[in-house]
Symmetry: C2
């Protein structure tokens, strides 16, 4: 498959999803958003579901890259995760969290979307579990149940996403909730607030 | 306004929303779900937005009734809230959480929906804040920041809602997260697990 073309299509899918929403997303609109013809999009992706699977795969890949932290310091690993979740790149559209929430609402009807959301969730939980376990081992953190901490953090991240979309709340509010929790549980202080 | 008719329309709106989803919800479908004609629905509600406002108002009212607890025991007040959120009545549709998530995705485009979601959130946070403050005063709970606890609980409840829809996860998992947190913070033990 021609990577450059599929990349172009995937980017245009993201923009169209933000602009028109899930219900009004069509191959025609994606073509209009890009330099690619409707025929070419159909050549690469049979259905809207396939196209959105590719879009979500790309999202999962980029998220995994963002949270993969070169530092061996488990405190820095947690900060990198919180930055990736709560401070998305400025280039991303304001509507992106809404588009993502719409796709989450579609998950009950599309197992393939649901699989990708499980991948995202597994990524968050693995990063937290690994960092907490390493932090306990190296004496940075109090001795806690790392998987329980990870479940809390992932649930709060999901909650922050809904609150941003449904209530228009700043993601920083949820970041504070998570940081206060980690501070209390792990005896960890986020650097910027130390 | 004829309360019985509007009640019938609001119930039919809920069923149609669960069955067809937000994008495909029409006055015709709501009429087909009920004994009320399309003309009668238009007579009571000018637009789909007005109808969904009434649906959300009804939801807020019923939720407020569910969480209003006759017991003066703050521990029971928290249990009543968690029951209302995590153990909805058996009569409610499996699709209801999905329909509600779709409406949350629409909040950025409809301030009137957003206002109702703020009301729901305020209700949750007021119940928690009040119960925690009373529990501290009466010596049941440790001395904590009640509003901080309330923010945590509401964020986790929102997170549990997304996890149920996007991941197909049992709400009981999130209830455990909340209960463990309250247990740790307040020194409160949920009755059924004591």
């Amino acid at each position: 498959m021609d990577t450059e073309t599929t990349d172009t299509i995937i980017r245009a899918t993201g923009r169209s999803l933000c602009e028109y929403g899930y219900a009004d997303l069509t191959m025609q609109r994606i073509a209009a958003e890009s330099s690619v013809t409707t025929a070419a999009i159909h050549y690469h992706f049979d259905t809207k579901e396939e196209l959105l699977n590719a879009f979500l795969d790309d999202l999962v890949d980029r998220f995994e890259q963002q949270v993969s932290c070169e530092s061996s310091d488990p405190r820095q690993q947690l900060t990198t995760l919180l930055d990736a979740v709560f401070s998305p790149p400025k280039s991303s559209s304001d509507e992106f969290p809404v588009a993502l929430m719409e796709l989450k609402s579609q998950a009950p009807y599309h197992d393939t979307y649901r699989d990708r959301f499980h991948e995202l969730d597994d990524t968050v939980r693995t990063v937290v579990t690994t960092a907490v376990e390493e932090g306990i081992e190296s004496g940075y953190f109090a001795d806690v149940d790392a998987e329980e901490i990870a479940r809390f953090v992932s649930t709060a991240i999901n909650g922050g996403h809904v609150r941003m979309v449904a209530l228009g709340e700043e993601p920083a509010k949820t970041r504070n909730v998570v940081e206060d929790y980690l501070e209390g549980q792990l005896d960890w202080r986020p650097e910027e607030r130390a």
